[in-house]
């Protein structure tokens, strides 16, 4: 059974570790020197993400699960995995709440 979350609230941090994230076709993002800009082509709304957020977004959309992205980031930034998992979850919640990502709970896009 597919569980695609396109809006509304996300399940708990633990529940989405195996989920995958995708950017819907009406959303694009481009990386600038000091921030990543996410643009909703349907609404024309721009959203700024700092470089760390941009890196998270890159990992999340590179066919990595949320948990896998958190592990890689923990490695890159030398932070405890549990701490990074919380940050990634909050980031996903923020983007999801703004309709900028879709989350697939069964781990497939």
């Amino acid at each position: 059974m597919s569980a695609q979350l396109t809006n509304g609230s996300l399940p708990s941090a633990r529940d989405i570790l195996g989920a995958r994230v995708r950017v819907p076709s009406h959303v694009i993002y481009r990386t600038f020197v000091r921030e990543t800009v996410v643009l909703n082509l349907q609404t024309g709304s721009y959203h700024g993400v700092n470089p760390t957020g941009g890196r998270i977004l890159d990992l999340l959309t590179s066919d990595e699960t949320v948990g896998g992205a958190a592990r890689q980031l923990a490695d890159e930034f030398r932070r405890p995995v549990s701490e990074v998992q919380r940050d990634v979850y909050e980031f996903c919640k923020e983007l999801h709440g703004r309709g900028l990502i879709e989350v697939s709970l069964n781990g497939r896009h």
């Binding site: 009406h26 694009i28 481009r30 990386t31 600038f32 020197v33 000091r34 921030e35 800009v37 643009l39 082509l41 349907q42 024309g44 721009y46 700024g48």
Partner: protein
């Protein structure tokens, strides 16, 4: 036996070779007669827009005032229309300003039909060059920015800033100091491969008399000849005739309280947003245009230099121009 394909419906069209062609904002404008203010070109390569001067009655029959969605409605303080732009899905745009004419721009930007008022060309051209042609350019896939620009050493330096920061005055002083005119107020940009290309605008520059007087007499002739006057003097400068690589953007910050003289430094973190916010024709918000705008801004940020120009209160455009020219001369040659 020679076989030639022809279309009966086009037998009475004007032969293509008889069309006059001029270029601005990355478009080749084809018209039946020379179009003042545009650099003449022989071929019609690239993006082509046909222009026709039509009877006002035909324009009004094709598009009634009540038709379409109003996307821009600027009024004088007494309520009279200053400029209005309407959009009809799939058909395009109607631009209208009393005493400046009305123009129908097709949705793909390849055709413009105009009903012109009976005034000097330079007057109706103000609307045409400020709104109509930039719209056609954007509809044909170029990105248009609210900026003035000059060329130094074969590369373009552009000036971005809110109204009143002196974009035009600085460009005028730079031309007087030896730079080449590229455009006044609207700049068409294209991200082509590894290069960001700036396309010249029409040969028109509007300048305040007071600002013109600040240009030393011996340098004024470099700006070109006056072609008309309203609230400002309209001049026809000699523009660059070909697209040139964009070397950098200068964000004009006026007044800057933390400097005592004009200071240029690497742009702050907010430059991304300043760049995104400097797009022209905000009403053109289709997904294609939004995507192109973000892509071109991304290319500009990646492949050119972004600088802040901090201008203290009271600093003259001349001083800004001289400081910028020295700076641009350095980084253009370094980048080139």
């Amino acid at each position: 036996m020679a076989v030639t394909e022809f279309s009966p419906s086009r037998l009475h069209d004007r032969p293509e070779s008889a069309m006059w062609r001029g270029r601005a904002f990355g478009l080749t404008l084809e018209s039946e007669a020379p179009f003042p203010g545009l650099a003449h070109c022989r071929d019609s390569t690239g993006r082509v827009t046909s222009w026709r001067d039509d009877d006002a009655r035909l324009i009004d029959e094709a598009w009634k005032v009540s038709d379409g969605d109003v996307v821009v409605d600027l009024r004088h303080t007494d309520g009279r229309v200053f400029m209005r732009i309407d959009r009809r899905a799939d058909e395009g745009y109607r631009i209208w300003a009393p005493y400046y004419g009305r123009h129908l721009v097709s949705a793909d930007g390849r055709s413009i039909r105009s009903a012109l008022p009976n005034v000097s060309p330079w007057r109706w051209q103000r609307l045409f060059f400020a709104q109509t042609l930039p719209l056609a350019s954007a509809l044909q896939g170029l990105e248009v920015f609210h900026a003035s620009a000059v060329a130094v050493g074969g590369r373009v330096a552009a000036f971005v800033g809110s109204s009143g920061t002196g974009k035009t005055s600085i460009a005028a002083h730079l031309v007087a100091l030896g730079a080449t005119f590229v455009t006044d107020d609207v700049l068409a940009i294209e991200a082509a491969g590894a290069t960001v290309v700036a396309h010249p605008g029409p040969a028109r520059l509007s300048i305040d008399d007071s600002e013109l007087r600040r240009i030393p007499e011996g340098q004024r002739s470099r700006l070109g000849v006056p072609v008309g006057r309203s609230d400002k003097l309209m001049i026809e400068p000699e523009p660059t005739t070909a697209p040139l690589p964009l070397a950098g953007l200068y964000f004009l910050k006026r007044p800057a309280s933390d400097v005592s003289r004009v200071t240029i430094k690497e742009a702050e973190a907010t430059a991304t947003r300043s760049l995104l916010g400097s797009g022209f024709l905000a009403y053109l918000d289709t997904p294609e245009r939004l995507r192109n705008h973000l892509d071109v801004c991304s290319a500009i940020a990646e492949r050119t230099r972004l600088y802040d120009v901090l201008i203290p209160k009271g600093a003259r455009a001349r001083e800004v121009a001289a400081t910028t020219l020295a700076h641009a001369d350095g980084f253009v040659h370094h980048a080139g």
